[in-house]
């Protein structure tokens, strides 16, 4: 489905929500310290460029990510969330990402079920060596969210525009 009507970006979930002309999505990236955060640092050290919409939050492990971080993000500041951790088998804490993976799947599906595009929350495995991959992932997520338009997810009072 095309989110743009008359050249104006509208929310894919609630077409009556129209983006302001200079709208840029805000994306929250929650990255595990050992793989993905290190990978994002490598992206920086390698000077690989990616869209500036992402705001990165560091957590020790993807298993630290409680699903309601995602809900809270979407309810307050974010139009989309990216959570990234170590590849399966590479978790610094042995098994954290396996638990996280289960929660992510259910959260993603549940959000989609109650009417939010599945691309609003996305997940990736980025290792400490995958600087280029991180840039690619961010570019993709940003592009996806831009297509989806602004999010109206029962924003709290202060965030209703």
């Amino acid at each position: 489905m095309e989110a743009a009507v008359n050249n104006q970006l509208v929310s894919i979930e609630k077409p009556e929500i129209v983006a302001p002309p200079d709208w840029e999505p805000v994306i929250i990236g929650i990255l595990c310290n050992w793989c993905s955060y290190a990978g994002s640092d490598l992206t920086g050290t390698s000077r690989i460029q990616y869209p500036p919409n992402i705001r990165i939050i560091r957590v020790p492990c993807s298993s630290r990510v409680d699903p309601w971080f995602l809900i809270k993000s979407l309810q307050t500041t974010a139009d989309g969330v990216l959570v990234s951790g170590c590849h399966p088998g590479d978790c610094h804490y042995i098994s954290g990402n396996y638990y996280a993976r289960r929660r992510f799947l259910v959260t993603k599906k549940l959000l989609n079920f109650v009417g939010f595009h599945e691309n609003r929350v996305q997940f990736s495995w980025v290792s400490a060596a995958e600087g280029p991959k991180f840039a690619k992932v961010v570019a993709k997520v940003t592009e996806d969210i831009k297509k989806l338009g602004p999010l109206h997810l029962y924003k709290k009072e202060n965030f209703e525009k």
Binding site: T76, K156, E157, N158, F159
Partner: protein, 356 residues
């Protein structure tokens, strides 16, 4: 109190309702998921003023919202400033259709507390600007016991305009207050009469209405003398019976949230970044942390004490302070209770353990 009484039929009533909705900001029971709640309506088809009590939420949130913004504030590097809240969406002139007698009566009970030491101006404004048109009950439902409580259903002026179903498809429309009379005038009652939609009633009408009320009163399954109950309950604070009657309770809050007279609330702030909003929201005495104090002291840590508070507040404390029971006998709490606890039965059971 002067009364104006008109008579019409089903079709005339529908036309009347349609006219009201088209001319006024109107609230009426709207069905959603099998339950009726009072919502702003723009056409008669969308609502059902005759929705059964058991499946209808109270209209209380139109006066005392489930969550009301009472303040907005900003706190940044330049200091803290309090801002006005948004315009009160419930403060305009409006009409409520299909409120039941009990629900309307509850507002009169609430008026007492709202006009007591602190005058809640928001509430007052909402009350003043609202015309209440009540739909008549024909027959008591399973958990109704309004007639047992201390108010005169037949002559109640809790509603501005009362609709009474008579026999032979007749429908009586009665303005019970000055506001109601003015409203009927505004609604071109004269023209309706000349159109033959409404008829002026003859002298038999009041009798017909009275007959209806008598039949209604006779249909009640639950009847109890509450003056006696008030007296008994006032002596019963230490009764062990509260523990028995509350055993089934799962402390779920539902009864308080659906009750048309409960008015306990809590204050909460939601602040993000520099700005915050202060809310006043429903609270419930069933809740395990109702009136939990900042130091950690909980005056009612166990369920039976909370239940005792609920019963005694409704039938003793409020009565003592304002001369009325904090209950209108609508049975909404009993209808909604997941474990079918009936406040009528509970009060009966407890009060029976002492003599007057």
């Amino acid at each position: 109190m002067s009364v104006e009484l008109f008579v019409t039929d089903k079709a005339g009533l529908t036309k009347f309702y349609e006219a009201i909705i088209s001319k006024n900001e109107t609230y009426a029971p709207v069905e959603k998921f099998g339950k009726y709640d009072f919502k702003r309506v723009s056409s008669f088809d969308a609502c059902n003023p005759d929705a059964p009590i058991a499946q209808t939420m109270s209209a209380k949130p139109l006066f005392f919202p489930r969550s009301a913004k009472i303040m907005k504030y900003t706190a940044d590097h330049s200091g803290t400033s309090v801002k006005e809240t948004d315009e009160d969406s419930l403060a305009g002139k409006r009409v409520i259709l299909g409120m039941k007698h009990c629900d309307a009566r509850a507002l009169q009970v609430l008026d007492k507390v709202y006009n007591w030491d602190y005058i809640d101006t928001d509430y007052q404004r909402r009350r003043e600007n609202t015309v209440i048109i009540s739909a008549r009950c024909d027959k008591a439902e399973t958990h109704c016991f309004c007639t047992s409580l201390d108010y005169d259903v037949e002559h109640s002026d809790a509603m501005d305009v009362a609709i009474v179903n008579g026999t032979d498809g007749k429908v009586f429309i009665e303005a019970r207050t000055e506001k109601g009379k003015v409203f009927l005038k505004e609604m071109n009652i004269e023209q309706r009469i000349s159109n033959n939609e409404f008829q002026v009633t003859d002298e038999t009408a009041p009798a017909a209405v009275k007959q209806q009320y008598e039949a209604f009163a006779a249909s009640f399954r639950l009847k109890m003398d509450y003056t006696e109950v008030n007296a008994r309950l006032s002596k019963i604070f230490d009764s062990p019976e509260f523990e028995n009657v509350s055993a089934n309770c799962i402390s779920c809050n539902t009864c308080a949230f659906v009750c048309p007279t409960c008015h306990c609330f809590k204050i909460s702030d939601e602040k993000v970044k520099d700005t915050g909003v202060r809310y006043k929201s429903y609270d419930s005495c069933n809740n395990g942390y109702f009136t939990l104090m900042a130091g950690g002291h909980n005056p009612r840590p166990v369920k039976y004490r909370r239940w005792r508070q609920r019963a005694l507040h409704k039938f003793v404390y409020y009565k003592e302070r304002f001369g009325e029971n904090l209950c209108v006998g609508c049975g909404k709490c009993t209808n909604s209770c997941p474990v079918n606890i009936s406040i009528f039965e509970v009060v009966k059971q407890v009060s029976e353990t002492v003599s007057v």
